[in-house]
């Protein structure tokens, strides 16, 4: 927690499951750890149903209710970067096979029992040839077998997402258009159903204040992560120079992407943002002022790495209750640190100099964590 920071960033994976990965990120600043959290939740593209044409709906739920529920259904989105375009970047007028997927829901109930309409009833249908764009594109060849299909549809062990229930004589005839998007646009596009993020489990830094009746320790049980750090002595004085150094992540996905893909894409997305900024400085510099020397290299955006692999449409899915919409309140929250929020200047200890300059001077190891000196 103090002293030994500023080394190389470290990552220790504690658990990998088909829908989640748990890891500890060390030797980075709270700001960076939070950037990673935010980018994984809000900036990674997936496909989700975005337009719904309802031909028949005699169920008890109104059209818009069903349309909303269809939007929440997670669709397999592995390799989304290459496999589909944003419609806004496409040459077509209103959607084509390169930027959209069509899913149909055609069900009717003919017996006396109530029938569940689920995500398993959604069928991906090919684009009609006349709407097919003549534009050559590689996107289609980059798609996995089940790209755009509801998560868990091809796995018996995965319970489908319940959309509505119909009785005898009721019918649904619906055509859905799925598009690519990110969770900043709509929470349904988030690949994460939850990202847990914790630091300083003993609250040594006093970033939070516990409410209690008589006894803090009795009323606030420690988290599992507290085992990773030394508990403070009862008489330990408050170290106001200490900074958080270990961050406990658990990334849980809704099945649209695998957890490894989410972490890797998150980092790549951060790098893309940085590269765009440098590019912006280069371009902006030309006509505005000489704000940029010409010889500054634009950092490369790493190509997709194959050391990890994407989500498996065959073996993994989710329950209706945990559809990606659940994360909406999570990512919009600005930042767990006080520095992140609001419209005030958030500045980091530069005033007192206590940590501001002392921090870099003690840096023992170079390049990756900033300034060596």
């Amino acid at each position: 927690m103090q002293g030994h920071d500023d080394g190389e960033p470290t990552v220790r994976i504690r658990e990998v499951k088909k829908d989640r990965v748990n890891f500890v990120l060390g030797n980075v600043d709270l700001a960076f750890a939070n950037s990673l959290r935010r980018v994984m939740m809000a900036d990674i593209p997936t496909v989700a149903i975005d337009m719904v044409e309802i031909e028949t709906n005699t169920s008890v739920l109104p059209d818009e209710f069903i349309a909303h529920r269809l939007g929440m259904v997670p669709l397999v989105s592995a390799n989304c970067d290459e496999a589909i375009r944003y419609t806004r970047d496409c040459v077509c007028l209103a959607g084509c096979s390169f930027c959209s997927m069509i899913l149909e829901l055609k069900v009717s109930c003919h017996d006396d029992n109530t029938m569940d309409v689920t995500s398993d009833h959604l069928e991906v249908v090919p684009f009609p040839p006349d709407e097919e764009s003549a534009d050559p594109g590689e996107e289609l060849s980059k798609r996995g077998e089940w790209f755009g299909h509801p998560v868990g549809k091809h796995d018996r062990n995965v319970p489908p997402v319940l959309i509505t229930k119909i009785r005898k004589g009721q019918e649904l005839k619906i055509r859905c258009i799925a598009k690519k998007g990110i969770a900043k646009e709509h929470a349904k596009f988030s690949p994460c159903s939850a990202v847990s993020f914790e630091y300083d489990p003993h609250n040594k830094l006093r970033h939070t204040t516990y409410w209690y009746e008589t006894d803090i320790k009795g009323e606030w049980p420690l988290s599992e992560n507290a085992k990773e750090e030394e508990a403070p002595r009862d008489d330990e004085p408050f170290n106001f120079n200490a900074k958080p150094n270990k961050f406990y992540f658990e990334v849980e996905t809704d099945g649209s992407l695998g957890p490894q893909e989410v972490v890797m894409k998150g980092l790549a997305e951060l790098q893309t943002k940085l590269a765009n900024l440098i590019l912006g400085l280069k371009i902006g510099g030309a006509d505005q002022i000489d704000i940029m020397p010409d010889d500054v290299p634009v950092p490369h955006v790493p190509p997709p790495d194959n050391a990890w692999s994407g989500g498996d449409p065959n073996t993994w899915g989710m329950h209706a209750g945990s559809a990606s919409g659940g994360s909406s309140s999570g990512w919009s929250q600005t930042s767990p640190t006080r520095g992140g929020a609001g419209s005030q200047w958030s500045n980091d200890a530069s005033w007192g100099g206590a940590t501001g300059t002392a921090g870099w001077a003690s840096a023992s190891s170079p390049q990756t964590n900033g300034w060596k000196q």
């Binding site: 790495d305 692999s309 200047w345």
Partner: protein
């Protein structure tokens, strides 16, 4: 239809750019806070802070003030490439930990 917007522009600065405010389009706390942190690590930087001026405007402002009339642009560029290296280091470290494989593992494929 849509006029092109500059990704980053100079709002206000001293003539030698040693103290300047930049406005970055289409970014948020995600980049702002990390960038502020990395710029502050530079010993030549006197002050760095960022703000989101209004939640319904898709921009952030970054203020940089340098010691000894150094260029704030250099500090900005350095910080951007340093952050890029941090991302790379985290990725490498993640993949190394994955290869070590001291955890419960599930096979995944496309």
């Amino acid at each position: 239809m849509a006029e092109t917007v500059e990704k980053i522009k100079l709002l206000k600065s001293s003539p030698d750019l040693s103290a300047a405010t930049y406005q970055i389009h289409d970014e948020s706390h995600t980049i702002g806070n990390s960038l502020r942190w990395m710029i502050m690590k530079n010993p030549k930087v006197e002050f760095c802070g960022y703000s989101v001026p209004h939640p319904s405007e898709n921009v952030i402002n970054i203020r940089i003030q340098m010691y000894d009339n150094a260029s704030s642009v250099d500090a900005l560029i350095d910080a951007l490439s340093q952050l890029d290296k941090v991302c790379e280091a985290v990725e490498d470290s993640y993949l190394a930990s994955l290869r070590e494989g001291k955890f419960e593992r599930w096979e995944e494929r496309y």
